[in-house]
């Protein structure tokens, strides 16, 4: 790859009368507080320049830490946390907003530039009605009277196809669903009739089936109002649907910037190419064997013995050394199935057979070998580890607990395990806080492996990771499976991940398994309505995919 100051082909500059945003040589720094060291300043964004014409959409893409959100917020002269803009110019509507002072900045925020956050659920004030929050900025900046602003908001609610557009504003944030809230937030941004909206991962926290509707609503609203947008995301397939141009960032520097078609079809930089082609692991499916390692039969479960069953009559088999992927949207019961199998939520009915013996439903009645042979890895690796223990202690603990291995032998085993997860024994004395997200997840994998399990339950283990890092974790898991002959129950909402790792698939919807079988059969038409919706909602890196997918749907998604 080219050096720090490499030449990048940039799209032609917009005509002066069309130019809305002109960021020149932006430099942003932040003070970091590494554990046990003195605070120091790090550069988050280094010499990035961009231009945006009126009514156009520029996608900013990159892994976490690429500086994309930071650049987006600089268009509002805002630095989150301890972040400071230390150099460059941000010229909006012909003036440098970094030099307008506090009052000048306040006048432009919520008027000329508006913001749509990743989690609308957190970004709305729980104490106020939606309407009061949607019209707040428009009234504050005097762009409308209250009556006009409410009229405008209702019009926008309708445009964003929210249900009951005339009354939804009377509701409180907790009274509407996540997908709806994200659209209300878009309406809130549009209500001030700004020149620019910064969308900061607006669909990342949503289920795929909900994401597609929100994405379509945002796209229509951008087109109809003629607002310009910076669209920040880590998902290239998503950004390809809404952007005119895409800018790829890495470590706070520009990698590549071009038209959407060029970036996804003819990437010029190696890194962009890696991003475009990340999801493809060829995984040959194994056929079921005679004896499953784990067999769940007619599992029915409810929380607190309540009348609402979160699992209804679920039956699945997992075969030795193979992977069963459980897919579904949030609330479908896939994590609950894991809790039932581990005994954390004892099922009301049904039985679980594991390695030839029947597991007792309740956790406290299970033997130590039952516990040892069934391990679990979680989505949030950093909260699944004790932050005050070193990597060596974390991985060594199951060795002591299950096998009584101590001293040199234990250290020896820990070193072997670290080798297996491709990290090396230099990490023995590190604390979790000193590791990257992918390394933390690797340590959790090593901890699970240390128990010599027959089955590992992986609950969304790659969901919090960047695509390239997640890719590495999946390859590691597949390699370990081959070496150790361990079976996986792989819970995920990401169908691309499923395709790369599964031997068989169970599709869950509202507590039931709606489709189950070997991967090849589950992913071959004809589909049931829900599986069809799920599959057709996965964004594809194809311009025009969104419109095609919406048109071809047979079933409305549940999040609406």
């Amino acid at each position: 790859m080219a050096s720090a100051v490499h030449h990048v082909d940039t799209p032609p500059r917009p005509k002066p009368e069309d130019l809305l945003l002109d960021i020149r040589n932006l430099k942003i720094e932040a003070r970091v507080y590494p554990p046990g060291e003195t605070p120091r300043d790090v550069t988050i964004v280094d010499g990035v320049s961009l231009t945006l014409a009126r009514g156009k959409v520029l996608g900013l893409i990159g892994e976490s830490g690429a500086g994309k959100s930071t650049i987006g917020l600089s268009a509002m002269a805002y630095g989150r946390g301890g972040v400071r803009i230390t150099g460059g110019e941000v010229i909006l509507n012909g003036r440098d907003i970094l030099k307008t002072g506090k009052d000048g900045v306040r006048k432009l925020r919520g008027a000329e530039v508006c913001y749509v956050a990743q989690s609308a659920a957190a970004a709305f004030n729980p104490a106020h009605r939606l309407m009061d929050q949607v019209v707040e900025a428009a009234i504050l900046h005097g762009s409308a009277t209250r009556a006009e602003a409410e009229q405008r908001a209702k019009h926008l609610f309708r445009k964003l196809s929210l249900p009951n557009p005339d009354t939804i504003g009377d509701r409180y944030p907790h009274q509407v669903s996540g997908g709806q809230l994200q659209r209300v937030m878009t309406a809130m941004a549009l209500c001030s009739e700004p020149d620019l909206i910064v969308f900061d991962e607006p669909t990342t926290a949503l289920d795929v089936t909900t994401q597609i509707d929100v994405l379509a609503a945002i796209k229509d609203a951008i087109r109809d109002t003629g607002v310009a947008a910076l669209y920040i995301t880590h998902d290239l397939a998503v950004v390809a649907q809404v952007s005119d141009e895409i800018m790829v960032l890495r470590h706070g520097k520009l990698v590549e910037w071009g038209g959407t078609r060029q970036i996804i079809k003819e990437p010029r930089q190696e890194y962009t190419n890696a991003l475009v082609s990340v999801h493809h692991i060829e995984h040959e499916e194994h056929a079921p064997t005679a004896n499953p390692i784990l067999s769940a039969r007619n599992i029915t479960a409810a929380y607190g013995g309540g009348p609402i069953k979160v699992l209804k009559n679920v039956s699945v088999d997992i075969f030795p050394g193979q992977t069963l992927a459980v897919v579904g949207e949030s609330g479908s019961g896939k994590s609950t199935l894991a809790r039932a199998i581990t005994g954390l939520l004892p099922p009301e009915q049904g039985s679980i057979t594991f390695a030839g013996r029947t597991l007792s439903n309740a956790l406290k009645d299970r033997s130590r070998d039952d516990l040892r042979e069934l391990q679990m890895i979680y989505q949030m690796a950093d909260v699944a580890m004790n932050p005050r223990q070193t990597v060596g202690t974390i991985i060594g603990r199951p060795l002591e607990f299950y096998f009584g291995i101590k001293g040199r032998e234990r250290d020896q085993r820990v070193a072997e395990l670290l080798d297996k997860i491709e990290m090396g024994k230099g990490f023995v004395d590190r604390y979790p806080a000193e590791l990257s997200g992918g390394q933390k997840q690797r340590v959790c994998i090593a901890r699970a492996l240390a128990a010599k399990p027959k089955l590992i339950i992986c609950d969304e283990v790659t969901s919090a990771l960047d695509p390239l890092v997640a890719h590495g974790i999946l390859e590691l898991l597949l390699g370990l499976q081959k070496d150790e002959n361990v079976a996986y129950l792989f819970i995920t909402h990401d169908l691309a991940t499923v395709k790369s790792i599964a031997d068989s698939i169970a599709v869950m919807y509202r507590g039931e398994v709606v489709r189950y079988g070997p991967k090849s059969r589950v992913l071959t038409p004809p589909f049931d309505a829900y599986t069809d919706l799920l599959l057709s909602s996965v964004p594809e890196m194809e311009i025009g995919w969104l419109e095609k997918a919406i048109k071809g749907r047979r079933m409305e998604s549940a999040g609406n």
Partner: protein, 314 residues
């Protein structure tokens, strides 16, 4: 609604439990009421007679229910030492204590919340540091020390206010207010710091929220953000600490009342503890408990009402 009813029912139940505890506690105390009334010269015969008359020979549970039944009908019993009806003696004193507490609260609560808001607005700046430093100093000083300082400067040196806060029936209202300025100030300094610091902490906690960032990105001013977006979400913890301090104003005044010779409940309690007058101690204890529990119920109800999720279910 059901939640609120639950809280109230719990409070009443708690009050009964406290009454049993108070009764049991006074039974465990060493010493004999009859002996302390009659003194050392008492003959065994006169002691026995007095015990019979006071009903001290009945089993404890009968005495408890007799006492409880009296309270429920408004009869707090008779003071052993003075032979006066407790309810009639206590009435005006309770009124005086509430008078002092009320006017202290009227000044303290808005002032504490305002200072808390200012500290957040100018956080980590000189204004915040000054407010916090002053608050810390006033909490660290015990109230009797503050009381004597106030008397020394404002009563003895400047002679602005009386050093003894006498109030009596028929005293003109403004005179009364003048009389309680010094004890009120002493109490104010004790409760102000706690309330102010908790207000600051509660609002600062909310200021980390994503919706505060949303407000900032709408171009709202700092003060508008704190007032409109942070404060409504910090109400529950603030109300809690305010109620705790209100309870202190009623229950914790004992020392301050004694210093300023203020004719309130605290002084009355201290007098009768010294004389081992069990019915008075029980009655005052129960009133303090009732104040404490009911203010806590108010705090609970306020938190329920402040939570939009409970007010507006899905």
């Amino acid at each position: 609604m059901r939640l609120i009813a639950q809280r109230v029912a719990m409070g009443i139940l708690l009050l009964f439990a406290v009454s049993a505890l108070i009764f049991a506690g006074t039974q465990i105390l060493p010493g004999d009421v009859a002996a302390s009334i009659l003194g050392q010269s008492a003959t065994p015969q006169s002691l026995a007679n007095l015990r019979e008359e006071l009903g001290l020979n009945d089993p404890a549970y009968i005495r408890y229910f007799r006492w409880l039944g009296g309270i429920l009908t408004g009869d707090l019993g008779t003071a052993l030492t003075t032979r006066q009806d407790i309810a009639t003696t206590l009435g005006p004193r309770l009124w005086n204590t509430l008078f002092l507490a009320f006017w202290t609260a009227v000044v303290a609560i808005p002032l504490a919340i305002l200072l808390g808001l200012l500290a957040v607005r100018y956080r980590n700046g000189p204004i915040d540091k000054t407010i916090s430093g002053f608050a810390l100093a006033s909490t660290s000083l015990p109230e009797f020390f503050i009381g004597y300082l106030l008397i020394f400067f404002f009563a003895v040196k400047m002679q602005w206010f009386p050093s003894i806060s006498t109030v009596y029936d028929g005293m003109p209202f403004l005179e009364k207010l003048r009389a309680i300025v010094l004890p009120g100030t002493a109490l104010l300094l004790v409760v102000l710091a706690h309330m102010m610091r908790m207000t600051r902490a509660a609002i600062l906690n909310v200021m980390q929220s994503a919706y505060v960032e949303t407000a900032e990105l709408k171009g709202l001013s700092q003060l508008a953000i704190i007032r409109k977006h942070a404060f409504p979400n910090a109400i529950a913890p603030i109300v809690n600490v305010v109620m705790l301090n209100l309870a202190f104003l009623v229950v914790g005044v004992v020392v301050v009342e004694v210093i300023f010779v203020y004719p309130g409940m605290g002084q009355y309690l201290v007098d009768h503890v010294a004389k081992r007058d069990v019915p008075v101690v029980q009655a005052v204890g129960l009133i303090f408990a009732a104040v404490y529990i009911s203010l806590n119920i108010v705090a609970d109800i306020a938190s329920i009402l402040a939570n939009p999720r409970l007010r507006h279910p899905r």
